[in-house]
Symmetry: C2
Subunit: 144 residues, 2 copies
């Protein structure tokens, strides 16, 4: 099992290649996304954005998130049924451990679990398209 860490891919090139325009709002939103370690929701992204340019609208944040999601540049999560939270789709697939007290998200990856999931789906006669594994936990008192 391993931790995942962020890196900064060049999304502007990808956007151009996809035939969409590089606008000021998009540049700012991408900047926020690539320079954060957390998993912000649309409102949080919006607030960070208007600090840089207060003319950006919430609709544009939502539209940009949808665009980036379709391009596969970000992933969308709905932890606990709350509002969508986003993260850039960097590197390998990973799952999430959510701290129920703070809302913090820790990323992890386990090949063993992935393998088991495949086996289970196969046994039930299905091919996995995607999956979601979320552990909701609390910092343990005892030392590890």
């Amino acid at each position: 099992m391993k931790h995942a860490l962020n890196q900064k891919p060049d999304y502007e090139k990808e956007l151009r290649k996809a035939g969409v325009r590089i606008t000021r709002p998009r540049r700012i939103i991408l900047d926020i996304l690539t320079s954060t370690e957390d998993h912000p929701d649309a409102m949080k992204i919006f607030h960070r954005a208007i600090e840089i340019d207060d003319s950006i609208s919430l609709s544009t944040v939502y539209r940009t998130m949808n665009l980036l999601e379709e391009m596969g540049a970000i992933h969308r999560h709905a932890f606990n049924g709350g509002p969508s939270r986003f993260e850039q789709a960097h590197g390998e697939h990973h799952d999430h451990l959510i701290d129920v007290d703070t809302g913090d998200v820790i990323e992890f990856q386990s090949d063993k679990i992935e393998k088991l999931q495949e086996e289970i789906a196969r046994a039930l006669g299905y091919d996995i398209i995607h999956h979601r594994l979320e552990l909701y936990g609390r910092k343990s008192k005892r030392p590890e």
Copy 2:
């Protein structure tokens, strides 16, 4: 890995014990919940309910779902970020495989995966409160 199947616990007793009143709407909603194999959302439960008594309101369905969830009698899921879907909290814990084409939900349970999750959480310094594992898949062409 095993399938889970439903049974009918007696919720009226539990409700009484929790000090809440047994009303006609509640009886009807509980009946719907205990006699279905699927994972209906509030609107679906509402429609099934008004077929039995057309005076039942949607608010009451929502209020009852919240009540039952707090009592631990049902579980709430937000597959794919859609509206909440419910199921009675019968027997053992289980996870879900969602058919992306039909929306059907298949329940399964794997001790191996549960164990791995515990290990991972422990390694990260957390105790698991609850977790969510959803496989989104499509019926495979090849025979099993």
